[in-house]
Symmetry: D3
Subunit: 248 residues, 6 copies
C-alpha cells in the first residue's frame, strides 16, 4: 500500500526527516511517499502560516490522489489542514498530533506535550479539543525557540526540551511526553533514555495508524462533515486545485 | 472610524447584503467598507472552502490595513479565517458567529442556532467551543439547503427555517434563535414576528461589537497567539500577501 | 437613548466613578443616568452583601422603568442581582463582569481576572460559569484588600494588583487582564502601560454593550427564565417594589 | 440537637408540610423547629422571588442563631439563599436540592429531576452546577403548574408529574426521580409505588444530612467564601438583620 | 439497624480501626458489624490489588446478606468494588470516598484530597468523576508512603500529611481537607487543630450516610446498572459466591 | 511478534471468534494467541461479572508473560480489567473498546455506540470517560438482548441492531457506528453495506494498535499508575497469580 507523508511547509529537508521517521517503523508492504507544497511557507508557527500551508496540503493530497495513494499523514504539529485533506482524499488521513495523542493515551494515564515556539500552544489546545483528550493531558509546555532553528541545531533544543519535560513529570504528574514538533524526531532516543518515560513522536505513530486503518479497510466517513467537497466554480489559484470528488 | 466587512466568499452580492445589514445599525460616525476576495470560492460550505476563503480573508485584511481601516467584521458563519485576520490587523476583528453568540447570551439564558447546509454543523460547534458557549447553546439545528440558494429565494428558506426554530423552542427550550448564515438576514423581522423570541443576526451584531472595542480603545492582544505573524520568506501566491507586521 | 448605571452598593461616590467611566465611552446620543439603592450595604464582598444589594438593584431598576430608561448596566463585579433585574426591566440589562468577559474574549485567546477581596473569588467563578467562559479564563487571582479601601487609596492597590497581573501573564499565560472591581477604574491606563497587554474595565464595556443591544433592537427574551415576574401578594419591604409586569 | 427548617417563602402551611416530612425521619434526639420569613413572597418561582426570599432566609437564620439552633435546612427547591445562610450560621446548613442530589447519587447511577413551574428550570441547573452533579442528572423535566397550586390540589399534580417521570425513565434512562418542589412531598409514596424506582424528596434528606454533619462534628468552613460576613454599616431593613459574626 | 463496614483488604486491624471510627458517630439504634475478605491482599494500592479486593468485597456483602445486614460501608479510599457490592446487596451501599466528597461539598466551596501512596492518585480521580465533584476539588495531593506503613507509625505520616494539606490551602485555595486513606483516621483531631479547616474522614461519614438512606427508606435503584446480577453458571472460586438475587 | 487476545469470559467460542477477527487483519509477522480464564463467568454483563472476569484477565496475562507474549488485546466491550493487565504486563495492552473509539475518531467527526444488553451502558460511559471521547460520541444506544444470545443467533440481533444504528445516524447525527460487543463481529460487513457509514469492530482494531505500539517500540509507562504491582503477601486464589514484577 502507498502512504504519503504530507509536510505542510515548503522545507524539503523536513519532508526527508519525516520520511526517515516513517521508514523506521513502516510495515514491509508499505511504500512511503513524501511531498511538500510547491509554494507557501517554510515553517508553520502562526495562523497565517496555517492558512497558507493548508492550501499546500490540499494541493499535495490532490496530487496524491492522482498517484493512487491509499492513505495520508499530515506531518506538522497542529495537524494543519487535516479536515480539508479528509474531504479531498478517498483514503484515510491521520495527523501527527492526533496520532501522538491517541498513542500516548494507550500507554500512559496522563501525558504532557512539549512544543515550540510559544505561540503555537493554541494549536496543541485545538487538537486536544478535537481529539477529545484535554483531560488526559497534564499540560502543554513550550520552549522559546523557532521551528526552523530545530533542524540543524538539535543539540541546542535538547537542553531546554528536557528541562521542560522533567518539570512536566515532576510538577504535572505526566507519565509520558509527546514531542510537539516534527523537527524534533532525532531527539527521541536520547530523551527517552534521559527521562525514563515513553517519548512519543507523532509522524511515526501516524504512519502506523494509517496502516491500521487500511488493514481494517476503514476510511473517512463521507456522510457529513468530511464528505467530498461540493463542486463549485472556484477562481484564481484555488481553481487549479480542481476540487470536487476525487478521480480515484 | 472605518470598519470593513470582509466577506470570505467571492459573491459580491453577499457583501452588499452584509453592508446593508451593517448600515442599518452603525453609529453616525462609522464609515462602513466592504470587500470580498479577488478570487476564491463563491460560498463557504466545507473545509476546503474554508481553506480557500481564509487566504482571501487575509488578502482583504491586508488591503484594509493599507486603507487605514480601524476594525474588521468577518461576515461568514463559522468566522472563516478569524485567527489569521487577527494576526494581520492592528485593529480589532470580530466574527459574525461569535458576535451572535455573545449577543444572544446577554438576552437569553439559552439559545439555539439554525444553520445550513447540514455539513456546516461542525463550523458552529467549533465556534461554540472557541467562544466558550457550548453550555448556553440548546442545540444546533440544520436545514438541507445550500448557501447560494438562500440569496434570491429567501422565501423557500423561510418555511424550513421557522419549522426548525419552532422545534428548538418547543423541544430544546431555546429562548432566542441565532441565524446561522449571513444570507438569511432579510428574514430577521419576519422570523421574530412569527416566533415571539429574539432572532439574532451576526453581521449587524459584529459591526456594533467592533464599534464597542474601538470606543473602549481595545484591540487584539499582540502578546501571544494572535501577535503579528513572523516575517519569513513565503513563496508563490502567499508571497503576494506581503505578510508580517502591519505597515499601519 | 437613556442608559442607567445601577450601582448595587449604597456608596454614591462609586456611582459617580462608574458614570465617569461610562461617559468616557458613551455614544453621542446616549444619556447616562446613575443610581444606588436608597438603603443597603456600602460594598458587596460576601453573599449576605449580595442578598441585601440585590433588592437594591431591583428597586433601582423599578425606578428606572418609571424614568423610561432604555437599558441598564449592573456596576458591581459579580453582576449582583442581574437575573432579577432582567426580569423586571423591559429593556436589556448587561453586567459589568459578563461585559468584561465577552470583551476580553474578542481580543485575547486567554485572559485572567484580578479581583478583590479574596473571598469574592466565588463571585468571579459564578459569572464565568454563567457566561460560559471558564475555559478562556487562565485564572482568577485575588488581592487581600477590601473594596472600600480601593476608592481613595488607589495607589496602594496598584502595586499588589500589578504584581498579580504580571504573575497571571508569566505563569498562567494570560494575554489580557480583567479588572475585577468597579473601584479600580482609575488604574486602567497605568496598568495597561505597565503590563503591555489589554486591561479591560467592565463598566465602560457594559455601557457599550447596552448601546449595542439597543441599536440591534434586541432585549431580554421574555419567554422563560427572565420573563416578567408573576404578580403575587408580597408583604413587607418587598411589597414596596410593586413588582410584576413593567408599567412601561 | 436543634435543627431548624427554614422555609424561604411566607406560606406557613408549607413550613408545616416540611416539618412533617422532617419529623418522619428525624433521629430520636433531634428537635425540629420551623420558620418562614416575617414578610416576603408567598412562593419562590422567579429570580425576584429569590431575591426577596433570600433576605427572609437570612432573617430566619439570624433568629435561629439567637435560639441556639445547631443546624439548618433550606426548604425550597433551588436552595434559596444558601450561601448567605452559610455565612451567617455557626452550624451547618444543607439545602433540600443539594440533599436530594447527593442522596440520589448514592442510589442510582443517573437520575432525573421533575420540577415546576417551567421557568424554574434554571434554578435546578444552578444547583446542579454548584453541587457538581450535571453529568449524573439525565435531565430536568418541568410541569406547567404554579407552586401554590400544589398544596391543596396535589391530586391534579400527580398525573402530569408521573407522566414526566415515566418519560424520564423511558427516554432519558433515569433510574431514580427527584421531586423538584417541597410542596410535592405528600406524593412520594404514591409516585414510588407507581414508578418502581426510588423517588427522592429533599427536605427529609436534608434533615438527615444536617444530623450527619452534626454527628461528625463538621460545620461550614469559615476560611473563605462562606466565612462570617464582615461587619459593615448597613442601612434600611438590612440594618435590622444585625449581621456580622454570630453571637452564639 | 445493622450496618456492616466492609474492609476490602485482609488486614483485620484496619477493620477494627474503621469500626472504631464508625462507633464514634453511629446512632443509638445502629448495630455496627465489620468484615474483611477471608483471603486476598493486605492493602489496596494498585489496580491488581483492587481486582483481588473486589471479589473479597462481594464475598463479604454476600455474607452480610445472609446476616440480615441493612446497609454497607466500603472502607477503602477508591471505594473498591462498590458497583459490584451495590448489585449484590438489597440495602444501600456507600463508599468512604464518595461519602467524604459529598460531606465536604456541604461545608466548603472547594476542598482538596491528601492521599497515599502516589500511584493511587488515579483512584481518587475515578471517584471524583463518578461522584461528579471534579470541579469542587481543588486538587489531589499525594504522600510517598505505603498504606501499611500508616497503621502503627501514624506519627511519621503526620508531618508529610500536614505539609501537603497546608500547600493545598495556600496554593490551591482549598477550604477543607479530605483524608485519603482509612488508615489515617487517628490523625483527624490533630490535623483539624493544626490546619484550622474541617478535615473529613470518609468511614465515619459513610456510616452516617447509610443511616440517612435507611431512615429515608431509600436503597439502590434496581432498574438498570446496579440491578441484581443475572444468574449464570459461574465456575471456580466465583461459583462459591453463589451470586444472583439476594436471598434476603 | 506474539500478540495474545485475552477474552475475559470463559466461553471458548468467543475467543475463537476474536482470533478469527484478529487473523483477518494481522500483519504477516504477527503470531496471534488466544486465551480465556480457566474459571469465571461465561459472559460479562454486570459489575459482578467484571469483578470475576478481571481476575481471569490477570491470570491470562500472567500466563502470557510466561509465554513471552509481546502485547495483549482485551477482547470485551468495557475493556474489563485493562488497568490491572497493564500493571502486570511488560508489553503494551489495548482494549477493544478504546481501540474502537480512537479508530472511529480518526474517520468520523462524531460516532455512536450500539451495544447490549441495556445495563452495560455504564461500561461504555466509563471507557468514554477514560478514553476522553465523550464529546465525540453522539450517543450510546442499547439493544435488549443478552450477550450469550448473540453468538449463534446473530440473525436475530441484526434487525434490532440496524434499527438503532439508523436512529443514531438520523437523530444523533452519527457518521460512523461502533459495534458494542465482541460477539457481533460477524455482522460488520452486512451492517456497513446496509448503513452506508463505517462500522468499527474493536478486536481487530486493537490487534492493529498493539502492532502499532510494538513497531513504535512503545509500551506502558511504568512510572506511576500502571507500574508493576508492588509485591505483597497475597492469600487464597490471589496468591496463585504470583503477582509482582514480570519474570520476562
Amino acid at each position: 500500500m502507498r502512504i504519503k507523508i504530507v509536510n505542510p511547509n515548503t522545507t524539503a529537508s523536513f519532508t526527508e526527516l519525516c520520511l526517515s521517521a516513517g521508514r523506521a517503523v513502516a510495515a514491509a508492504g508499505t511504500q512511503l511517499l513524501g511531498g511538500q507544497p510547491s509554494s507557501g511557507t517554510p515553517s508553520v508557527e502562526c495562523h497565517v502560516d496555517e492558512a497558507v500551508a493548508t492550501l499546500g496540503v490540499v494541493e499535495q493530497v490532490r496530487a496524491g490522489e492522482a498517484d493512487q495513494v491509499d492513505g495520508y499523514v499530515i506531518a506538522c504539529f497542529g495537524d494543519t489542514g487535516i479536515a480539508a485533506a479528509r474531504e479531498v482524499a478517498v483514503g484515510p488521513v491521520v495527523g501527527m498530533t492526533e496520532a501522538a495523542l491517541y498513542t500516548a493515551a494507550l500507554i500512559a494515564p496522563v501525558f504532557s506535550i512539549v512544543t515550540l515556539p510559544m505561540r503555537t500552544r493554541v494549536f496543541a489546545e485545538r487538537v486536544l479539543w478535537q481529539a477529545g483528550l484535554e483531560r488526559r493531558c497534564a499540560g502543554i509546555r513550550t520552549i522559546d525557540i523557532d521551528v526552523l532553528d530545530c533542524e540543524d541545531e538539535a543539540a541546542d533544543v535538547f537542553e531546554p526540551f528536557i528541562a521542560e519535560a522533567r518539570r512536566a513529570i515532576a510538577e504535572d504528574h505526566a507519565e509520558a511526553i509527546i514531542l510537539g514538533c516534527a523537527g524534533l524526531q532525532p531527539l527521541v532516543a536520547r530523551l527517552e533514555a534521559a527521562l525514563g518515560v515513553p517519548v512519543i513522536e507523532g509522524v511515526a505513530a501516524a504512519v502506523k495508524l494509517v496502516e491500521t486503518l487500511l488493514a481494517l479497510q476503514l476510511s473517512t466517513s463521507k456522510l457529513g462533515a468530511w464528505g467530498f467537497p461540493p463542486v463549485k466554480p472556484m477562481t484564481g489559484s484555488a481553481a487549479a486545485l480542481a476540487l470536487g470528488k476525487s478521480t480515484r
